[in-house]
Subunit: 349 residues, 4 copies
């Protein structure tokens, strides 16, 4: 018996990714699609401007869109709601006993909400007990991280454990799919770069410290490193490429640093979770990799690809990392979060 | 009477820019075009795959290409030779009494060669006397800087004077025209970023310190700041966009920093050189500027456009700067160098 | 004394082109800008997301936006209103005595409205007398043609006169600027072609016959040729490129056809109208021209560039033509229409 | 026991596709890779600049490249040689008893060489007997068609059978991968269209008639319809999109035409060949499909996708068709050719 699953915001670009990634999932089964009032009551395939390069899964084509306030019988809800509208809806669902794995940014920095990357901070799921007690509900809200913060945070996990990260300066070159649909006008992005993404840098400069932080006395103590981010939009479809300069408490030799990245395995790999990539981090040795178009699909979009590791004249090392923004950085990240909860007995059909 | 001018490497992309920018120049007149053996003896318009969006100037259409070893009667030579082949040819021309303003990288770091941006280090032209004495020639070689180093170095000039730059970390997003023609295959750059440009980072990490250095005892003492560069190729035609994080000996208030950039004027502006932009640095206040396509032509491609000035959580400030790579960063930079020499009586027809 | 001019829809992309092209115009002077209710009462530069690569003209930066129903004292109005909303507003202005040169499609096919390209059908201005009598107004409405119809219609004028066009099959590759702003999402157009533009083909298949038609008994008799159009959206900023196959009543020799195009001059060239290009049609001999990026600015965006003239195995000849869609095909076309009316004494300050 | 297979020109872009498509093939096994002199003797992975988005198959990574004149023990050879050099090498291999399935254009129009699309003209394989007798060899050469001719020819097969095609006018918008590597410079194709592809139109205007022709008295009588092609290069990675206008001996009703396309099945589908798509032609009803990026992978790149079927004011009908140029139009087409020969007992291990 699979766990019944609802997708909130099912018709948008992240909602579509949820549906694509859950098609044929061994543990989860989409049985409810929630959309806007405008589309409620109509079949999914009729109201959705499907964007992805695989067809709409047969199982949902004719499924009727439910309105936001429909009663749900699914233990698990994936939320692809836009930020700034997600909070009241997700809180209502958690209060009604649902486990909500959300891609929205609204609750990410709430002290009792796990901001989860299963390879990075699986122990933060213990916050759910705090969350339930404090909020008086039987459900739960678990957030995944900002898409631009995801790749660097996974990359930092083994480095922080081994060498103690003290400073991180990053410059992102972000794919246009991160802006949703219709998103960035082609009139703005054609043969151009936009060196600004509204609201992005504050998220990128705070989420990694929470995720790499320590759970102590029912709260997260953020990892105490400084982070500076420049965020840019580039004419690429999928895959956020980021240039990182890093300083450590103990500066490793370069081959130590490479080995720490290359040998990194974590709980999702041990548990063999369905969406876990065999290697959370893939290190490429070619001088000109990773590249968004050529490397974003590594590990079915769930691996972080790192390259160009070399000394930094200002901090200790510099490198380039790439993460698929709508798979690992959005829907795929949430699915992996739910898989971890399932494997740990936190989800009951 | 205008100064007669030769263009070396006249058929390539930088050579074309020289010819475009010199068309109708008030002081200089192209009278000789030097090309490869293959094209020598043939009319310019017949052997050139013209790339620019203005037509080939009428004055050069029918001009016959000369071979590399042709004797020249032009006091001034602009060199658009590819790096790695430029040195012997440019040295021979200087030995024959010509002033060579070169875009090639071969001699840039020679201690007795001025690496010149007229707004930054016009006093470095004094090295020519050293160069002539040491090398025993009556001509001269003056280099312009790497296209990626140009924008940041101009931006640093007023900041270094006022506050003392101690560290600079930059990430470039470089236009494809910087790779010449045929340059980057579209198969590599379509919907993609390449996080590597061969040989670029070492140049970018050393040239600014020479240009911002101090002339003392007939030598340049490099400015003593650390510089780290990540260089990326992006699908943009013209205009290098760069994200900078900066630290200073004396951290200014943000409005001091902005004022220093905005009020910066230098010798080319005082002398009213024909190619000098009214403002060497233009500061934009919009949150999403500069952008390559929309801002690269500021000051007819000779201004550096700066925006997004804000505090950096790691160094002192961060900002974005943009410079036109084939105008200010190549042919236009060389022409301005020659104009400065002319205005200072160092060029005789 | 210049003619005072109002621009309707001044903040949109076509409105911006009007303002750019009218800056420094010898005959016309923008004195009123009409915008949406939302922007009325505010300075132009504050409410406009300026898109073009030249700065906002100083003369309009601080000009206050007027609401749609403001009384106007300008004899001439340029309308950049979106189609489907233009008719009532433009008719009200004509009734109030204004000459309206419109880019909207709403009235183009009205029998008493001149659909004007000054090189093609200047005599159609005689319809204004019919229009005034029939509609009982003292103003006038003059339309310019669809941007995709413009280049082919100019190309056809000398060919139709000399050889009698009987059939035209065209496939367009249209720039994204034609969709306005925000227009086409980059998520749709990145590394892609969209083989459909809503409502475009019916316009392209009917407007040329009206423009090339004959004025007889106060009405236009359309030119009796068949026209088939396939319209595609391509990732290009400006410039509609079109592949044409043509059949004639009398099949010319190829050099006759080329000569007819190359020697074509018309009334705007005779009258030396300020926006008229010296050559309405430029024929390029290179095998791979015209190209949108390299040729769209020919004649300051007002020339049609034709190339690849060769026999067609099905109709008589095939060729490629290019026309700048937001200059000649929109604002520039309307300005030239007004210039023709001014030169013929139909506009009084 | 699988059939041993060699790939000629294994390191180029089409060679890479052969290797990708043959990985895990049920009938064929790559056992020899032939490359240039420069790469001979070295492992495949070391000398190949691998371009595709799946990794190099493990089975060939370490395989040593053989020189062109190495003796081969493979009954089957796939040739990805560049046109203009293929003929002597392929003829030598056929003379040595190999079956050569070639993607090169050199021998396509030889009267005794089958130009084969298995859904279109499987009976043309009978030419092999003629070829063997005439040329005195025991091997064979079978060509696949030009990538731009492929989609229209498949589309025409059911239409020609049912209604008799008399005229076809097509305009192609061709992906850059068709030019190989390095192929088209990004400096040429960025934000641009190139309305010319050297040598393409003559191929496109003659190959379909041969393929749709009739085998009679040991020769192909070409299908007697006129074909006119305009070929354009567009900034798309993979997938040739083409606008077609068609005339028929008997003009069908539109639903007849649609049904003929939609119900078309052919020998590869009957034989269930491993690379045969379930539907050779997929008809899409949306107004804006097919699009290269969204539809090129239909049928794993082996289906032709057709849309926008509507009457043509000049010929009878117009439509848009899309075919993956480096799968169905190159390597995949050759593999399907070999599969058909295998299924018909023409290949012996």
């Amino acid at each position: 018996m699979k766990i019944r699953v609802a997708v909130l915001g099912a018709t948008g670009t992240v909602g579509q990714r949820f549906i694509q990634l859950l098609d044929g999932h061994p543990w989860f089964e989409v049985t409810a699609l929630i959309g806007s009032e405008r589309s409620a009551g109509r079949p999914y395939a009729d109201v959705t401007r499907w964007m992805l390069d695989t067809p709409i899964p047969a199982a949902v084509r004719a499924m009727e869109i439910l309105p936001e306030d429909a009663p749900l019988d699914t233990p698990l809800v994936f939320s692809a709601l836009p930020s700034k509208t997600a909070r009241p809806i997700e809180e209502r669902l958690a209060a009604a006993g649902h486990v909500v794995c959300t891609n929205a940014s609204d609750l990410r920095m709430d002290p009792d909400v796990p901001l989860l990357i299963p390879e990075v901070n699986p122990d933060h799921l213990e916050l759910i007990a705090v969350q339930r007690r404090r909020r008086g509900w039987s459900g739960a809200i678990v957030a995944n991280s900002n898409c631009t913060a995801t790749g660097p945070t996974i990359t930092l996990r083994p480095l922080h454990d081994a060498f103690g990260v003290t400073r991180l300066l990053l410059v992102s070159m972000q794919a246009l799919s991160g802006a949703g649909y219709p998103g960035v006008p082609s009139y703005d992005l054609m043969e151009n770069i936009i060196p600004f993404i509204g609201g992005e840098e504050p998220k990128v400069e705070t989420e990694p410290q929470k995720m790499l932080g320590t759970l102590r006395d029912e709260a997260i103590e953020p990892a105490p490193f400084a982070l500076s981010a420049h965020c840019n939009r580039v004419p690429v479809l999928e895959g956020h490429l980021e240039c990182l300069s890093l300083a450590f408490a103990r500066r490793p030799a370069q081959d130590e640093l490479v080995a720490a990245l290359r040998t990194f395995r974590a709980l999702p790999q041990e548990l063999n979770l369905p969406s876990a990539p065999p290697q959370p981090i893939i290190v490429r040795d070619e001088p000109d990799r990773p590249q968004p178009r050529r490397d974003r699909d590594a590990g079915r979009g769930m691996s972080t690809v790192v390259g160009r590791i070399r000394p930094c004249p200002i901090l200790d090392y510099k490198l380039v990392c790439l993460s698929h923004n709508t798979i690992r950085g959005a829907a795929g990240g949430s699915v992996l979060n739910a898989e971890l909860m399932y494997a740990q007995g936190m989800l009951n059909g």
